[in-house]
Symmetry: C7
Subunit: 90 residues, 7 copies
C-alpha cells in the first residue's frame, strides 16, 4: 500500500531515539518525550514553495501537528509543509 500525500503535505516517519537514564537504563516508550524527528517518506505538491525537501531527508517537525496514521502496523504522520521546522544535516 502506497500513500500519496495531497496538497502541500508530506508523509513522514517519526524517529524514536533510545533514551538511557544517567545510570544507563533504557527507558520504555512512555517515559520518552514525544519524538520530533522524522524521515520524509513521500512528498505532495510542494513545487510552489521556496522550500526544498526530498524523500529521505531528516526533519524536525512541530510537536502535536499533523495527523497520525498507521500503515501496515507502522506509525506515520501526514503533515503540512508549514509544520516542518527544520532539516537536519549530519
Amino acid at each position: 500500500m502506497k500513500v500519496r500525500p495531497l496538497g502541500s503535505r508530506l508523509l513522514i516517519k517519526p524517529i524514536t531515539e533510545e533514551k538511557r537514564t544517567e545510570g544507563g537504563i533504557v527507558l520504555p516508550d512512555t517515559a520518552k518525550e514525544k519524538p520530533m524527528k522524522a524521515e520524509v517518506i513521500a512528498v505532495g505538491n510542494i513545487e510552489d514553495s521556496d522550500i526544498e525537501i526530498n524523500v529521505g531527508d531528516k526533519v524536525i517537525f512541530s510537536k502535536y501537528s499533523g495527523t497520525e496514521i498507521k500503515i501496515e502496523d507502522e506509525d506515520y504522520i501526514i503533515i503540512d509543509l508549514d509544520d516542518i521546522l527544520a532539516k537536519i544535516e549530519d
Copy 2:
C-alpha cells in the same frame, strides 16, 4: 437518490476495517478507532484545484472533519477537498 456535492466538496464512504485482537477475536464497532479511510463516491467542483481525485479513489481523510449523512441507511461523509490528506495506491 443521488447526492451531488456542491463547491469543492466530495461525498465519501468510510471503509471500516475488521480489527482482530492478538488472540484473533473480532472487535465490535465501538472498540475500533474512528475510520480514516474512505472511497470517493462523488466529486463536486474541484477543477480549480491542483489535486486530481476521482470517483473510486481510496483516500485518507482528516478525522472529525466533514459532515456525516445517511443515504438509504448507509453512512457517508460530505467533506471538503482540503480535508482529504492523501490518496492510497495499492
Copy 3:
C-alpha cells in the same frame, strides 16, 4: 408575505421525514435527529458563484447553520450558499 434573501443567501424549508422505530412506532418530533434536508424556496444573489441552484431543488445543508424564521406559522431557514453541502437528485 414574500421573503427575498439578500446577498448569497437562500430561503429553504426543512423536510422532516417520519421516522419509525424498528417496532413500527412513529417517533414524535423531539426524538428525531435535526433534519438536514430542505427544499429551496427562494434564492438571493448567487450569480457570482459557480454553484447552480434553483427554487424547488432538494438540498442537504450543514446542521446548526443558518437562521430559523417563522413565516405564517411555518418554519424556514435563511442560510448562506456556503452552508449548502449537496444537491439531491432523485
Copy 4:
C-alpha cells in the same frame, strides 16, 4: 434629532408583533421572542454593495446582531448591512 448611520450600516426600527396564545391572551413583552423584523429608517453608505435596500423597506435581521440605541425613548438598532438577512415583500 436625526441619526445618520456611518459606513455600511443601517438604522432600523424593530417591529414587535402582538402575540396571542391559543386561548386569545395577548402576551406581555418579555414572553415574546426577540423580534427579527424591522423597518429601515436610515441607510449609510451601501452603494458599493450589490444589495438594494431603501428607507421604508421591511427586513429580517440576524437576531443579537447590531447595537440597540434609544432615540427619544424609542428603540432602534444600528446594524451592518451584512446582518440583514432578507427583505419582506407583502
Copy 5:
C-alpha cells in the same frame, strides 16, 4: 496637553445625559447606562475612509469599544473610526 490620535483613530468625549426617574429624581452616575453619545475632539488620519467626520460632530459609538483615558481629570475615549456607528444631526 494636546492628544493627537494616530492612524484611523478619534479622540471623543462621552456625553453623559442627566436621567430623571419618572418621579423626577436625578439618578447618580452608577445608575445610568453607559453613555454611547460623544463629541469628536480630535481626528487622526481618516482621509482614506469614505466617512466624513469632523471635530465638534456628535456621534454614537459602539459601547465597550475604544480605550478610556484621562486628560486633566476629564474622561475621554480613543476609538477607531470603525467603532463610530452614526452621526447625530440635530
Copy 6:
C-alpha cells in the same frame, strides 16, 4: 547595551506619574493604575506607515499590549506601532 526594535516595533519607556490622594498622600506603585503614557526610546522600521513618530515623542499606548523587558534594571516595553494610540503634544 542598545536595543534596536525590529519590524514595525518601538521601544518605549513607561512614564509613571505620582498620584496623590485628595488628602495629599502619595500612593505606592501598586495602588496606581497601569501607566499608559510612555516616551519613545527607539523606533524600528516604520517608514511604510503613514504615522510619523520620533524618538523623544510622548505617546499613549494600549494597556496590556507589547512585551515588557528590563534593560539595566529599568523597565521598557517593546510594542507594535499599531498599539500606539496617540501622540501627546504639550
Copy 7:
C-alpha cells in the same frame, strides 16, 4: 549534527544570565525568569523580509513563542522571524 531552519525561521540559543539576589546569592534556574535573550545560530529563508539579521546576532525574542528543541543535550529554540522583537547592540 547541523539544523537548518526552514521558511522564515531561525535557530536561536537562549542566553541565561546569572541572577544574584541583593544578598549576593546566585539563584538556581527555576527561580529565574524565562530568558528572553538569545544568540542567532542559524537563519532560514528571510531574504523577502526587510529585517536584516545574521548568525551571531544577539536578539530579544517573544517569551513562550517558538519551539524548544535539544541538540546534543543543549537547548535551542526554532522561532519565526516575526517573534524576534529586537536586536541587541553592545
